[in-house]
Structures are given as C-alpha cells and as structure tokens.
Amino acid sequence: MTPAIGFVLFWLAGAVADEAEADPRAGAWDRSVQLQLDGDLAGAERIMTRGWGSTPDNYWVSLRLAYLALLQGRADEAIRRYQALRTRPEAEGDRDVVRGHGSALAAKGWQLVNGGSAAKARAQFRQALAVDPDNASAVQGLTLIAPPPLASPELWTGLVGHSLGVYRYLGFALYGNLSVPVQDWFVVRVAGRYVSSARASGRSALSFGGRRESPWTLDEAYLSLARSKGLWGGEIVGARSATTGQATLWGGAGRLRVGTFWGGQLEAVYLRASGWARNVQVLPALYYWPVAAVGLQAGARLTHDDRGDSASANAGVSLRLSPLALHLRGHLGEERWAFAFDGPSLASFDAVTSYGGSATLLWSASESWRLAVQGEGERLRAEGAIGYYWSASIGVQYSVR
C-alpha cells in the first residue's frame, strides 16, 4: 500500500467514525447486525440504544431490541417489549413480531423448565403456542414436560433362555411395572419380575421339543423413588431377587443426574446375598443429546465383588423419531449382578457377563398406549464354562390420565 492510499483510507475511516460519532443513528443498523453476526450481542444492542435510547419510539428499533434481549436470554424483557410492539399499528401483518413474541414466551418456558417449575413452564409453552402456533420450541417443550400421567402400568412377557457349558435352559418371563407420580414431589415405582425356566435336553436352547427337568424360578421385586427438578435428578431403588436354590439377593441403588441436554450421572449399587457374596458397583457416565432425536451415553461400570473385581465399558444410543423410539445399550467387559435403572433389572446370574447388550423399540400408538419389543443378549462365563443368555419380550404400557 502506498502512503497516499494509506492516508486516504485512514482519512475515510476517520470520516466514517466522525460521522457515526456525530450522528449515532447513521449506519447504526448495519453495524449492529454485523456485531450480532460476530457474536457480540451486547455490542449490537449498545449501538441501538446509543442511537435511540433504551425505550425507543421507533417500531423497528424496538423490535430489534426485543430480539437482542431474547438472544441474550432476557426472556422477561423480550416478552415485555414484544407485547408492547404488538399493540402498535406497524405490527399489523408483521410476522416477525408474532414469531419473536412466541419465541420469547417459549424461552421463558425453558427457563422455568430448568428452574424445575414444570406446571408454570407448561402454561408458558401453551401461551407461546397461542401467540404463534408454529413455534417448534414450545411444541418440543410441551412434549418434553407433558403432564405426568396419574399412573403408568406396564406389562411385559417373553421368552428367556440361557446356556452354560452343556446345559441349556428355556423359559418365560413376566414383568410388571407401575409408576405413580406423587404430585410434583417424586415418582414411586413398583416393579416385579417372574421367570420360570427349565433345563432343556435338546441341542438347541430354542428347542421346545426336548424333555425338561430341573425347573427353577426367579422372582424379583423393586421399589423406587425418583425425583427430578431442573438440572438435577435422582432415584433410589430397593431390590430383592430370589432364585430357586440360591440365597436371596438384597440391595439398593442410587442414581444422581446433573444436566439437561448434556450432563453426567453417577450410579452406585450395593447388593448382598447372605453367605454367598457382597457386590458394590459404581457407574459414572456422561450423556449428550446433540439433537432432540439423538441421545448418546458412555460410562464405565466398576464392580467390587467378593468373587472378583471387574471393570466394563458401557455405552448407549437413543433415537427418538416420533412415534418410534429405539434404545440400544451395551457393555464390553466383565460384570457381576449388573444393575440397570431402566426397568429396573438385575442380571442376577451366578456367572460373569463378559459382553452383551439390549435393544428396545417403542411405538407410541397413542398418547396413552405404548407398545414395545425388546431383545437382549449376554455372553456368560462361569468356572471355565462359556454360555449365552438371551431374551425376547413384548410389552405394553398404558398411561392413565
């Protein structure tokens, strides 16, 4: 750059700056938009208020200030500004003011969600939809914090089978679950599982034609209390599992979650079978919903057991494509008596589970009815013998509203 050109550019820059200094409204709109694009929302707002004040009479400046307040998370202020703007004659036919007002109300709804005020949030989302029926954020909010059903009974049944060495077992399972919200305080959950299985002498675990012997049953019972408020959520579960010919298993588990669309959770489990073994599990995990339809989770299960310590990697993927939802879970690494809060369920095998996973497909047939199918498989190892566990179940859930 020659000195002459440099001087001219310097002079021009000075002239523009002088003009802006002399008249803060000159070029203010474009500068404000540029700062917004650069991510400096406060700067974008400052330029507008410097030109027109914080309560401008100009409709379009007020509209911009409302929008900038919304972008900066000041939902209350944005709502006030949009409300005032909608009474102006300039607002007639202006979709921006309607969309902005709806978005501000929805943003307030999300703030209430994060603050744990679900009922107020629902009212806010409904108000947002009354203003702008196309507001996707409010629809998402209402879907997410739909009023809890009075009760949600759930029934499952299916086939189970497992093999270990030369032995093969086949049977059926029944599972029931009842969730009852106690106002906004917590959700009480009672669940039970019954499995009846018999040794099959056929070559295949799927063979029904073979002679059965040595029948055994398993019954499990769970009682859980769960509470979720804003960023925090927690659950405690008491468990009992009794299998024919084995000591009854007792224990409890707790889970603490922090976060909304992303966050972490920590699970801790204590199980004990008198005269047999004690088992402690800790499962730290992180989760992330990059978009509303996809959830990812990864963690590790650390098990301290009288029969041997172990560690395993856990991962899960959830896909929500309404009305369908698919949940995939898996682990790699040895686990003993692995406890899962989803269900809840307990892998109460005497054997070690080396790897395995489950897939659950849910179909929301209506607002009240959900149908589900689930498949599960685990590789087993015990005293040098190798085997597999599998189950295939169907379930139905009804939400009483």
């Binding site: 003009e19 008249d23 409204r25 000159a26 070029g27 709109w29 100009n58 409709y59």
Partner: protein, 210 residues
C-alpha cells in the same frame, strides 16, 4: 471667450444630464426584458443563458429575494448546485419566514447528495410545517442514505398511509424494510408498486435485490 466657455460648459452639463437620464431610462426598461428573456430561455431549456440573464439583472438592479430564489432554481436546473445552494441560502436570509426557498434548498441538497446538510434543511422546513410531505420524504431519503433505516421507514410508512398513490414513498418504505432484513414485507410493497407501474425501476431493483 469667458462667456463662450461658460455657454459651452452649460451645454456639456445638459448633454451629461440627458445621458444620465437616458441611461437610467434604459436600465429601467431592460430589467423586465431580461426577466422576459430568462423565462423564454428557461422554457427552451437553455438554463445557463437564463441564469446569465439573472446575473445581468443582479448587476443592473442589485440582489432581491425573488432574484436569489430564481437564480437558485435556474442554477439547480443548470446543474450548478454550488451556486444554487448559495442562492437559496441568500433567499432564506432575505426572507427568513419564507418556506419556498427552504424547500428549494432541500431539493438542491438532495440531488447533490449532501445528506447531513439535507437533514438539517428538512428539519428547518418541518419546524415550520411539520406535515410538509416533500420535506418529510427528503428527510427520509437522507436517513436512508446515511444508514438510518428505522427512522427512514417510520417516515415513509406515515407518508404511504397519507399518500397511497405516491409510489416513491412505497418503494422508499420497501427499501428501508429490505435493509432491515424484512424482505417479505418489502416484496409485498414492490409488487404492489409494479402492479400499477410495471416498469418502476425502484421496485424492479427492490425485487432483484432480495
């Protein structure tokens, strides 16, 4: 000899007086003619010549409000904006209460694209006649040109409401809205203008700019 000289002197004085009288009579008779010629030249589109006649009038009869006003107008037509501005300012100085010279000044500043000066001149007009549509429209133009789209839109919107048949106000509002990212509303305005003025360049450019 002395008598003769005195007689000659009286004769010369008489001739001088006659000359002065004749000269004065010629000037009085020539100013209307210069105006006449100026109007005729303006009608023919020869603005420079028409302006020249006004300069002759100024030399002969001195400055006046009307002369300044007309000089400003002819200078504007001739494209001599510097002279036009000076003449209109001179007219404003001569009759500070007159609105027409102030309006004339806004026209010159508008075509000369002297936006800040135009803003000031428009505000002077509007201080005396707050609803003057031409001054409001030119003020809106100055706001738009300096990137003050919100104030431009506010003025244009009121003008469109009061003068729905004035298409420039509609395109002005359209452009201001377009600059503020409200392309949808701007398009409606441009199409409304094109519906009645299919070749309107402002509206066509507005459609193309979206």
């Amino acid at each position: 000899m002395t008598r003769l000289r005195a007689k000659h002197s009286r004769g010369c004085a008489g001739l001088l007086a006659l000359g002065l009288v004749l000269a004065a009579g010629f000037t009085r008779a020539d100013t209307p003619d210069l105006y006449r010629q100026s109007y005729a030249l303006e009608a023919k589109g020869d603005y420079q010549a028409a302006l020249g006649r006004m300069r002759e009038v100024r030399k002969a009869a001195g400055a006046s409000y009307f002369l300044s006003l007309r000089t400003g107008w002819l200078a504007y037509l001739a494209g001599d904006y510097e002279t036009a501005e000076a003449s209109y300012r001179e007219a404003i100085k001569a009759k500070s209460g007159a609105l027409e010279a102030k309006i004339g000044l806004t026209l010159v500043l508008y075509v000369a694209q002297r936006w800040k000066a135009l803003e000031t001149a428009c505000k002077q007009v509007l201080a005396e006649d707050a609803m003057h549509p031409m001054a409001r429209a030119r003020l809106a133009s100055s706001y738009y040109a300096t990137g003050n789209y919100p104030d431009a839109a506010a003025i244009y919107r009121k003008l469109v409401s009061a003068f729905p048949g004035e298409l420039d106000y509609q395109t002005g509002l359209g452009w201001a809205l377009l600059r503020m990212g409200k392309g949808g509303e701007a398009q409606k305005l441009f199409y409304a203008v094109l519906a009645v003025s299919p070749d309107n360049p402002n509206a066509l450019q507005g459609i193309a700019a979206k």
